[in-house]
């Protein structure tokens, strides 16, 4: 039986009817049609479904939708503003940090999560922050370069 769920998604308060067994990922995709967040495994192994839950990167396939009650969720769709792309998005485009793009939303959210608490990460810290994000296309070299460049840009 679907139950009501209140939460904020990309700064917008939402009230949604959701099945109790739905994951946050399925809720975002199937109910809100926010399909930028990807399902690569549904088992917590690939990171394609990464979103920010109260500012912290989580794999949304492992989070029950109802456990996000009253929480704040940010997905890849919520990053760009009227002024333009988020610096991490910009850097991924400029430095070639994406190919097929399926891992990209998840990688970007992991990177945004990292940069929100660490403005000046080392290359190793970047590699650890995206340690749960599989990418089969890029070999990570340009992904890491992009995140390092975004960090530099975002530094005050």
């Amino acid at each position: 039986m679907k139950r009501h769920l209140n939460l904020t998604v990309n700064s917008e308060p939402r009230q949604i009817l959701v099945e109790p067994y739905y994951s946050l990922l399925d809720m975002l995709r199937d109910e809100l049609h926010l399909t930028g967040t990807k399902k690569g495994c549904d088992e917590g192994d690939c990171g394609a479904c990464t979103v920010l839950l109260n500012g912290v990167p989580v794999t949304s396939c492992l989070v029950l939708a109802h456990s996000a009650h009253d929480a704040e969720v940010t997905t890849v769709e919520g990053l760009a503003t009227r002024e333009g792309l988020h610096p991490v998005q910009q850097a991924f485009a400029e430095y070639g940090g994406l190919q097929c793009g399926f891992c990209t939303p998840g990688l970007i959210m992991s990177a945004v999560g990292l940069l929100e608490k660490n403005f000046d990460p080392t290359e190793e810290e970047v590699r650890y922050a995206i340690g749960g994000n599989l990418c089969r296309c890029t070999g990570y070299t340009k992904v890491v370069q992009a995140i390092m460049a975004a960090a530099e840009q975002a530094r005050p």
Partner: protein
């Protein structure tokens, strides 16, 4: 080739970058249609069995279930992914592997569909099973498909379970072995691997009001899907439209019809749109991976290190069906070397396990591991530096390649030099730390290619091709068009394509898009340019030769201010004698253009655990001309990391009794993560190809095949052990360090030769 280029050769962001960083790019699973049903597939739990009976009535009664189909709902026909028509889209009366589809359900949601599947009753009667290909190729072994000789498309092979046989011969090999100073024989084995694309297979289908079928597919080959779907549904090809959605990685796995037929038939039955999305487990168990290959090599060498003869026998596991072409690896058994005498054979063998699919440099990658490890091994045994031994034998311009074609000018030696310098080779090895190299050749992909280009009234250019973007190929194609027409990249619009709209094109695979499709785009752009110039010539009353097309305009060379912009010309063309500006081109094949590379790995081997860590990876590749250097580097880096995964950790563990995939998840099938990998170092060498667009060569395949050999050779350099089986996992390395003999695989070459001679 350093002529002035404006757009070509620049590391511009991908044309689809914005869509992808904002999450707007639409993949097949992102298709939501009103009233859409979800499809789930029931698969066989048996390796080989007769289906005695099937009852779907209970499943049909589950509330929310709209239709259930079995093999009997499809027309009674076979289809083939490779050469042989050996397979039904859904099992009818017999199953040949664990995971073979036997029924499918369409329901209001996935949970209901899954629930219904569990109520489908199937009674099986087990039949004899054979899983090991080296056993299956033996005479008298259990047969997977006793009726193989009747399969349409079955050609020349030995029979039994051997369904394909490729061969290549030159010279008198036996005499050459007798004359050689030393002869070396080794057997190598590469494991079954999954392509690892991040986007699970997904598709949707809907029947339009006019009765035509629309399919949304995650595919590298929309026209292949259309043709195969028409065949299995027995409907006209023209009644199907395939939308090629954004592709979340394929690497060969998505070249052909996958599961589109299930939602298609269910949509036809229910009149509602139906979508299917594979789970990750299904990615491992339902869709053809690359299966294991065992290769026996024999090489004759003179006292000064010249190779005089090579024999190769390769046995590759096909699984239950030939889901990919026959193993092309045999054509690479000479490696990047000039060898006067050879006898090369590759045998495809049926077994009761998931059918084989394609994966980046299918077959070639396995052969490459064997050949480049073997080269290293011989060098050490005859006391030559591995690089020196290779240099003595490398192919040069004008040598005949394996099929007798003359090798054109190329950058092989430059790639060797570049890696040598970057890695400071030869370097004295330290205990536990080593460097290994490998050289490789790929042949730029060919095949039918088309393009059409129209110039819009605002001076922008619309590019239409039937090829699916993989690895940034759309961006390269757009750069080729922009360069040819003298406009900026942002003036080129790349149309999203479907099979109704775009002209026929071969699939995106085999590193053919930039080389072949790019050529078609260049020709189409030249055609459009000629028309623009012709129109301007008419207006100015000067000959076409007096004009140039550059910077968004056509101008008189001697008097540049006398010009018309593309926008003015396109607008004028609407009422001109020849009509709107449109350029077109089509071609069916491209000449032989080799791509050579050299790769080097530096590793640290932990002698206590057997753990191998790649600390540096350097590669140089002759790319001809880099259309987009950033894109090319991205290809090289991604390929190298896939290869490192294949070398060290990836393996589909297949149960030797039942053929079941034992590790169908990303936590048990270990692909490289960012924390495991070094930054990849690339060197782009540019010896232009004669025929590629602006001299470009293929890029994507070669970087993936060198790492296993380079790393195996580095392990030898570090600790003096030669491992001949992949992956080079910690337990295998440790066992070898402890002196255990790893020779687990054996091909009975004499029996194969005897079978051939009769």
């Amino acid at each position: 080739m350093t002529t002035e280029h404006n757009v070509l050769g620049r590391s511009l962001p991908r044309v689809d970058a914005l869509d992808k960083v904002t999450g707007r790019a639409t993949y097949a699973a992102d298709v939501y249609l009103p009233d859409m049903l979800m499809c789930k597939v029931l698969t066989s739990p048996r390796s080989h069995a007769r289906i005695v009976s099937m009852d779907t009535s209970k499943a049909e009664q589950v509330p929310g279930v709209r239709a259930v189909i079995t093999g009997n709902d499809f027309p009674d026909r076979y289809f083939g992914s490779g050469a042989v028509r050996d397979r039904r889209i859904m099992a009818r009366d017999e199953v040949f592997y664990i995971g073979e589809p036997v029924a499918a359900v369409a329901a209001d949601d996935e949970v209901t569909a899954q629930e219904a599947l569990e109520l489908v009753e199937v009674e099986y009667e087990d039949l004899e099973t054979i899983v090991d290909p080296l056993e299956a190729i033996r005479e008298g072994s259990t047969l997977v498909h006793p009726d193989m000789p009747n399969f349409e498309g079955y050609g020349f092979a030995m029979g039994g379970n051997n369904c394909t046989l490729l061969d290549a011969d030159r010279g008198d090999v036996d005499q050459a072995f007798r004359d050689a100073n030393q002869v070396f024989e080794e057997t190598y084995h590469s494991q079954a691997i999954n392509q690892g694309f991040l986007e699970p297979m997904a598709c949707a289908a809907n029947v339009e009001a006019n009765g035509r079928l629309t399919v949304w597919a995650s595919t590298q080959g929309p026209y292949q899907v259309r043709a195969q779907l028409a065949s299995v549904l027995d409907i006209p090809l023209s009644s199907i439209k395939v939308n090629a959605m954004e592709l979340g990685g394929g690497f060969g796995a998505k070249l052909r019809l996958a599961f589109e037929a299930f939602p298609a038939l269910l949509a036809m039955k229910t009149g509602r749109p139906v979508k299917l999305i594979n789970t990750r487990e299904e990615v491992f168990t339902l869709n053809g991976p690359r299966l294991a290959t065992t290769i026996h090599l024999k090489t004759g060498v003179t006292s000064d290190g010249q190779i005089t003869a090579r024999e190769a026998h390769s046995v590759f596991d096909v699984g239950a069906y030939l889901g990919a072409g026959p193993n092309a690896g045999v054509g690479h058994a000479l490696g990047a070397y000039d060898i006067p005498n050879f006898r090369l054979r590759s045998y495809g063998v049926y077994t009761n396990k998931i059918y084989v699919g394609s994966y980046r440099a299918s077959g070639v990658a396995d052969m490459h591991f064997a050949v480049e490890s073997h080269m290293d091994s011989i060098a050490h045994q005859i006391g030559l530096d591995p690089l020196e031994f290779r240099l003595k034998n490398v192919v040069k311009e004008g040598d005949a390649n394996v099929s007798g074609a003359s090798v054109p000018a190329n950058g092989l030696l430059e790639t060797i030099e570049a890696v040598k310098e970057k890695m400071s080779l030869p370097r004295k090895s330290e205990e536990g730390r080593g460097i290994g190299i490998s050289l490789g050749e790929w042949r730029s992909g060919s095949g039918p290619s088309t393009a059409s280009i129209s110039v819009n009234e605002d001076g922008t250019v619309s590019l239409l091709t039937g090829s699916v973007d993989i690895s940034g190929s759309d961006t390269s194609l757009a750069q080729i068009a922009a360069e040819t027409l003298g406009v900026e990249l942002d003036q080129v619009i790349v149309a999203k394509r479907d099979t109704d709209m775009a002209p026929f094109t071969g699939p995106s695979g085999g590193s053919r898009i930039v080389y072949s499709q790019g050529k078609a785009v260049q020709m189409a752009a030249e055609d459009a340019r000629d028309r623009l110039v012709g129109l301007a010539a008419e207006r100015f009353g000067v000959p076409s030769e007096a004009l140039s097309c550059e910077g968004g305009r056509v101008y008189v060379q001697d008097n540049p201010p006398q010009s018309l912009t593309l926008s003015q010309l396109a607008a004028a063309s609407l009422t001109s004698r020849s009509g709107p500006i449109i350029g077109m081109a089509a071609l069916s094949s491209m000449p032989y253009a080799p791509v050579f590379n050299t790769q080097a790995a530096e590793v640290i081997v932990d002698k206590a655990t057997g753990q191998v860590r790649v600390t540096r990876f350097v590669q140089a590749q002759d790319v001809g001309v880099a259309i987009n250097p950033m894109g090319v580097e991205g290809q090289l880096e991604g390929g190298a990391v896939q290869g490192i995964g294949r070398a060290l950790s990836e393996e589909m563990q297949i149960d030797p009794e039942t053929g079941r995939v034992r590790n169908p998840s990303l936590s048990t099938y270990l692909m490289p993560l960012a924390i495991d990998m070094p930054a990849i170092e690339n060197i782009l060498v540019g010896v232009p190809s004669a025929d590629g667009p602006f001299g470009a060569r293929a890029v994507a395949e070669p970087p993936g095949f060198g790492p296993p050999a380079a790393i195996a050779n580095a392990i030898y350099d570090a600790v003096g052990i030669r491992i001949k089986e992949l992956p080079l996992s910690a337990d295998r390395v440790l066992a070898a360090l402890q002196g255990q003999d790893g020779d687990e695989y054996h091909i009975d070459v004499e029996a194969l030769k005897k079978a051939e001679t009769g």
